[in-house]
Amino acid sequence: MTTTAPPGTGPRTGPDTRRADGPRRTRRQRSLSAPGSGLVFVLPFLLLFVLFLVWPVVQGLWMSFTDSSLTLRDTAFVGFDNYAEAFGDPDVWSSLGNTVFFTVVSSVPLVLIALAMALLVHSGIAGQWAWRLAFFAPYLLPVTVVTLIWSWLYQPDLGFANQLLDALGMEPVGWLSDESVAMWAIAALTVWWTAGFNFLLYLAALQSLPTTFDEAAALDGAGAWRRLWSITLPQLRRTTGLVAMLQILASLKVFDQIYILTKGGPNSSTRPILEYVYDVGFTGYRLGYASAVSYLFFALVIIVSLVQLRLFRQED
C-alpha cells in the first residue's frame, strides 16, 4: 500500500502527472506512438459516457424548454416558460431553502463529529478494530435499512427516543411529524449514517501526518491539548477542506432518507429540491418543468463547487 495517496493532499499530489504528457518517451513503440493510438481503450467508456451522461445532460436541458410529459402525449417547445414558472414558484424556493437548511445542520456535525472520532481513535486507545467497525458500519447500510431502524427509534408511542424522554419525565416529541423538529431528526439520522466515511478520511489523513513537529513540541513540554490546537488541527486543514467540500456537495443532493421517512412532510417542511423534482416530474407528470427545476439546482451545485474550489485554492 505504499502507493496510497493520502486524501488530505488532494488531487494535486499523488503519483506524478507530468509524465503522462511525455509521449515522446514511447515514440519508438508500436501502437501507442501512432496518432490515434489508445483511442480504442477509451471507446467503451466513451460510448457509455455519451449515452448515459452526455445525452441525458443535453436531453435534460432540451426538455427544460418543452412541456414534456410522463404520459404518452406529444411534446411542444415552450421557450423559457418553465424557467419563468420556476422562478415564481414558491415551492421551488421553499424546497431549495429546506435543502440548504439540511446541508448546514447536517454538514457541520458530520465534519466535527467525524474529526472527533478520528482524533480519539488515532490516540491509540486499545480496540482500534472495534472502534472503526462501530463508527463505519452504519455507512455500509442501504438507506432503507437506516430509515427502517430510525423510524422505529422515532416511533411516537413505543420508539426509543420518546421512551427515553418519558423515562426522564419529559413530554414526547413528534420526531417526524412536528414541522419544527422533523428536519433536525433527519439530520441526526444522517449524521449517524454517514459520519463513518468522513471519519475514515480523517483517520487516513492523521495516519499519514508527519510526527516530527508533534514530537518536537512534546519535547518542549507542550501539553496534549495545546499540541492538538497548534499542530495537529492546522496540519489537517486541507483534509478538512476536502471533507467539508465533499460533505456539502453530498448533503445538497439529499433525497433518499427524506423521501422514505417523511415524503417531504409534515406540510412540505422537509421536502428537498430533489424531491420537488421527483414530485413535479413523476407524481405530477411534468417532466419538462422538472428538468427546468433540476437545472436550477445544477446551477446551485456548480456555484457552490466553484466557491469551494476558490476557497480551497486560496488556502494554499
Partner: protein, 297 residues
Amino acid sequence: MSATATPLSPRRPRETAGSPLLLGHGRLPRVLAGTALVVLAAVWLLPFVWAIVTSVQSEQDVSKPGLSPFKGAFTLDAYRQILDRGNVPVWAFNSLLIAGLVTLITVAVSTLAAYGFSRGTFRGRRALLAVTVAAIMVPPQLLIVPLFKQMLLFDLVDTYAAVILPQVVAPMMVFILKRFFDGIPRELEEAARIDGASEFRVFWSVILPLSRPIVAAVAIFVFIGAWNNFMWPFIVTNDSDLMTLPVGLATVRDSHGVQYVPGMASALLAALPLIVVFLFFQRRIVNSVATTGLGGS
C-alpha cells in the same frame, strides 16, 4: 499500549495503531479520551442493538411501553416469516446481481479508459479527458428525469439493463485510475513492448498487476455505491421482482400494514451482507477510502 491484537486481522500493521503522542503521558487526557470514545461508540451502536433486540421478540411484546428493550420472550418468528415470504431473498439476489455487474462493467470500462487516457496519444485526448473530469461535477441525481425519458425511449423501464447501465459511467473512477497509472514508471512497460507485446497485453500483464490496490479500492467503492444506490433503481423499477433490497424494502408493503418486528428483522437481514464483507476486508476498505479519497458515486 501500541497496537492491540484483534481477532480478525492479526496481521494488522503497526501504523494503524495511532499515535500515542496525541495524548501525551498524562493519565487524565487518556481517561477523558477513553470515556469520550466509549460514549460515542455506544451512541453509534445503540440503534443496532435496539433493532436487534426488537427483531427477536413478538409484535405484541414489543408494543408494551417501557424503556427496557427486553419486553418478552425470545423468538425468531419474524426472520422465519420474512424468509418464508420470499421477497427479501429475491431482492437480495437482485442487489447482488446488479451491484456485481455494475462493479464488473465499471471496473473494466474505467481501467481501460484510464489506461487509454494515461498512455494514449490519440487526437482529442486532452479535450476528452477535460470533459470527463468536468463530468465529475454532474450530480447523477440531476439526470433522473432525462434518463427516465431515455429509458422510455429505449423501452427499458423495468429491466435490469435500465438499472445497471446508467450506473456504470463513473468519470471519477476513470480520473482516479488515470492518476494512478500516470505514476507507474514507463520503464516497466518498455521491456514488454520491446518483446513485442501488444498494447492490451501491456495493460493486462504489466499495468493491471501493479495497480491491484487501486483497482480493488475502486471496485469496493463502486460495489458499495451500487449496493446502496436508492434513487435511480427506485425510479426505474416498478416490478417488485426486479427491485433491489433498498428499493423493495422501501416500496413494497405487507397486507398486515406496519409491523415493527418484521421491519427490524428485514432491515438486519439486508444489513448483514456488507457488514460481513466489512469484517473480512476491513483493512482493505479502510485503505481504499484513503487511496481514492472518495466514496462511491
